[in-house]
């Protein structure tokens, strides 16, 4: 009997104790909300839109790796479903309005950071240590800063200036992809494909604007060089260069599938896989679909060249995890961001995602051959300009204007009007 009483007594005490602990955690949470810090942290609230596919596998691998390395840090992962970044931004916007930021979330770095600019805090001392800073290349480093201060950690890099091809179709057409050296050569190669094969020369979707914006920015980079490209992103673009890049897109549009406006990127990409199309210009997530197909192998059935004319540049599309001021879990978030800035975390993530680590000292032997080749290109690149379509180069208001200009371009391919709208997007 007495032992029973003791049991109950103890359990009551332990209930009280745990209630006190919960209260203390709450208090600690409050104090950390007011910037006090110290005491046990809240669990990390990570919001992302990688709710399916390779993105989901990648974030799962990253979190698993992190939890093995830091078993003491708790995670409250909250994927925002819908798999669209737009939804995620709305959720973040609403939470920031309510002054209730999460620990971190998936966002494009670069100019996109301006959207929630005031809400971020510096992680220059805690995360961007000398060791980290030395091992990031200048391009990604620049994108991780907001007004000259590090506020985010780039996690992966997808390259935009790729030209993927189906080897068999190009062989049949008598085109050697390695010999292409300018955007004009791509158009000629498309003409050869059209003449010598039944395949569609250039797979592209035009129901949404994004693929065309990507293609145009790649053409601008290839024709106007990094300087011309950078001048445009800074609002000092040369309208002639913009026009020339648009004209290249118009020339290529002759070689699109005839139902380009009704298909999606996946369908366009499948055309390349099935030998119904020769080329596709895409970010290297296109290769993710190829690697899922056992009968479509890198080097044998498909290949990739840097978009002709843009050699030496690695056109960046990155995801990153920024640090919010007023953070619910300051220490834990910084620990997590440091893990994201480590080669270990980046390799775990990118192995699943199909992209490459932004650090130049990563051991990429665990990545696939294509990723290793891309990584070699990346570390050897002269410049790493930021993508316009993928939110790095221009702020969201300007990007909306650019997308608007292209939504009109897709209707009538009016080069003059679009060129003016693009240059005017910065006003």
């Amino acid at each position: 009997m007495s032992s029973d009483t003791n049991e109950t007594g103890r359990s009551r005490r332990s209930v009280l104790a745990s209630a006190a602990a919960v209260g203390a955690t709450g208090l600690a949470g409050c104090s950390s909300l007011t910037g006090g810090g110290g005491g046990p942290d809240n669990p990390i609230q990570l919001l992302h839109a990688w709710s399916s596919g390779d993105g989901n596998a990648a974030i799962a691998a990253l979190i698993e790796g992190f939890q093995e390395a830091h078993p003491d840090v708790e995670f409250a992962e909250e994927p925002v479903n819908g798999a669209a970044r737009g939804n995620l931004d709305q959720v973040i916007g609403n939470r920031l309005q309510a002054n209730d930021p999460p620990s971190t979330f998936q966002t494009w770095p670069g100019a996109t950071l301006e959207k929630f600019g005031d809400a971020y805090a510096s992680i220059e001392e805690d995360v961007w240590t000398d060791e980290v800073e030395e091992n990031y290349l200048p391009g990604p480093k620049k994108q991780a800063k907001l007004d000259g201060t590090y506020v985010t950690v780039p996690l992966n890099i997808h390259r935009i200036n790729n030209l993927f091809y189906n080897t068999a179709v190009l062989d049949e057409a008598g085109v050697d992809p390695e010999s292409l050296s300018s955007p004009a050569d791509v158009v000629e190669a498309c003409a050869a494909v059209a003449e010598n094969t039944d395949a569609v020369p250039f797979a592209q979707q035009t129901s949404g604007t994004w693929s065309t914006v990507q293609l145009w920015e790649t053409a601008l980079l290839a024709q106007a060089g990094v300087d011309g490209y950078t001048a445009f992103t800074e609002g000092e673009g040369d309208v002639e260069q913009v026009r020339a890049a648009l004209e290249h897109v118009v020339e290529l549009s002759e070689y699109y599938p005839s139902d380009a406006s009704s298909i999606s990127f996946t369908e366009a990409n499948t055309m390349v896989m099935e030998g119904d199309a020769a080329f596709i210009h895409q970010g290297d997530w296109a290769a993710g679909a190829y690697s899922g197909n056992d009968e479509f192998n890198y080097g044998e059935d498909w290949g990739q060249v840097t978009y002709p004319g843009s050699e030496g540049s690695y056109l960046l599309n990155m995801d990153s995890f920024p640090y919010f001021d007023n953070n619910p879990s300051p220490e834990a978030t910084k620990t997590f961001l440091s893990y994201c800035a480590s080669t270990e975390g980046q390799v775990l993530f990118n192995r699943e995602k199909g992209s490459i680590p932004p650090r130049k000292d990563a051991d990429v032997s665990e990545l696939n051959t294509f990723q290793q080749d891309q990584y070699e290109d990346f570390t050897g690149a002269d410049s790493q300009p930021p993508s316009i379509q993928h939110g790095l180069a221009v702020s969201t208001g300007i990007k909306t204007n650019i997308t608007s200009a292209f939504s009109g371009f897709l209707e009538d391919y009016d080069v003059d009007a679009t060129a003016e709208a693009l240059v005017g997007a910065f006003e």
Binding site: S261, S262, S404, E411, D412, A425
Partner: protein, 348 residues
């Protein structure tokens, strides 16, 4: 519930009664025993909730549209002005002309809260009105035709009715993807059908001349079944003696419907019209799914896509609210005459 005006009148007469010297306890008792007061537990909570969350939100949205609110932070309600409306309706004469396809270029303005030029709403306003008018007119006409056909006592009547109504049960996302396929120049059924009559594959989805019509066509497909059901119900409500009388007087079928039956469908038309035009205002989901975002291109851009773009892509909350108010006023313009006519007929 009792007529609010009657309630009000009672209250006045009550207070009159008190000045006449009626005792306070009596009037208190009569206040408590009043129907409207006694039923308050039932109607008051929803009344307050709707008032707060619907009409309160409408008023709040209007207030927001008068501020300069953009980005994150708190709106500043101390400095209210109509600048956003001036930006939205910049260049009124040219703007109005441009919505009917005339008039020159309308330049945007740079309001105080923005570093970038903000375009007026003329283009999307024109598209919205065109979509609304075209879609609802055809939808009603088609619905009426179907209703008359189904009402003629055909075989498998119920089956047809279900088939016509079925598209309405689908979400906009499904119908948008479906019509993206239907409009495919190579494999889509529309182009296959056109091919049969010798019209060669037509680009529809990104064709500036056909885009909006294509959207309207898909919406007609989805909602004409609804118009049919409303008309069918109204047709069933017309006594068969009317049909018989017209027949006896020697009216042909066409004449009978035209002169006798259709004029009696006025109420049904108005109520179907209200619902259908409101669907047209909300075609956002359809465009969003069809064009993979809120940038359907200038020929199909409607106020709803423009509003979401301003609010959520650019975080121009105040300007987004301004467009929302414009949409609200448009919806009000459609609903108000209906409500007024109902009121006049004593149906309200």
């Amino acid at each position: 519930m009792r007529d609010p005006i009657a309630t009000l009148r009672n209250r006045w007469s009550d207070s009159d009664a008190r000045t006449d010297g009626g005792s306070a306890t009596e009037s208190e008792r009569s206040l408590l025993s009043r129907d409207s007061v006694r039923s308050a537990p039932f109607w008051l909570p929803p009344f307050l909730l709707v008032g707060l969350f619907v009409y309160g939100a409408v008023v709040w949205n209007f207030l927001l549209s008068l501020t300069d609110f953009s980005g994150i932070g708190e709106p500043d309600y101390t400095d209210l002005d109509v600048e956003n409306y001036l930006v939205a309706f910049a260049d009124p004469i040219d703007g109005l002309l441009s919505t009917v396809g005339m008039g020159g270029e309308v330049n945007g303005a740079t309001p105080a809260w923005s570093d970038l030029t903000v375009e007026p709403v003329w283009n999307s306003l024109g598209n919205t009105i065109a979509l609304m008018v075209g879609f609802s007119a055809v939808c009603l006409a088609l619905g009426l035709l179907l209703a008359i056909l189904v009402d003629r006592g055909i075989r498998f009547e119920n089956t047809f009715r279900t088939i016509y109504l079925l598209p309405m049960s689908l979400s906009f996302v499904v119908t948008a993807k479906f019509w993206l396929y239907m409009y495919n120049p190579n494999t889509g059924l529309i182009n296959v059908a056109l091919g049969v009559v010798g019209i060669g594959p037509v680009q529809i989805v990104q064709n500036p001349d056909l885009k909006l019509a294509a959207v309207a066509f898909a919406l007609i497909w989805q909602f004409s079944g609804y118009a049919m059901i409303v008309y069918l119900a109204a047709l069933r409500g017309i006594p068969s003696s009317h049909f018989e009388a017209a027949r006896v007087d020697g009216a042909s079928t066409v004449k009978m419907y035209w002169r006798v039956i259709i004029p009696q469908l006025r109420t049904a038309t108005v109520s179907a019209l209200v619902v259908i035009t409101v669907f047209a205002l909300k075609a956002f989901d359809f465009l969003f799914s069809m064009y993979g975002g809120y940038q359907p291109g200038p020929s199909a851009d409607i106020l709803a896509t423009r509003m979401v773009r301003e609010a959520y892509a650019n975080q121009n909350w105040a300007y987004g609210s301004t467009i929302a108010v414009i949409l609200f006023v448009m919806a009000l313009c459609i609903v108000a005459p209906y409500v007024y006519s109902q009121y006049r007929r004593g149906d309200l």
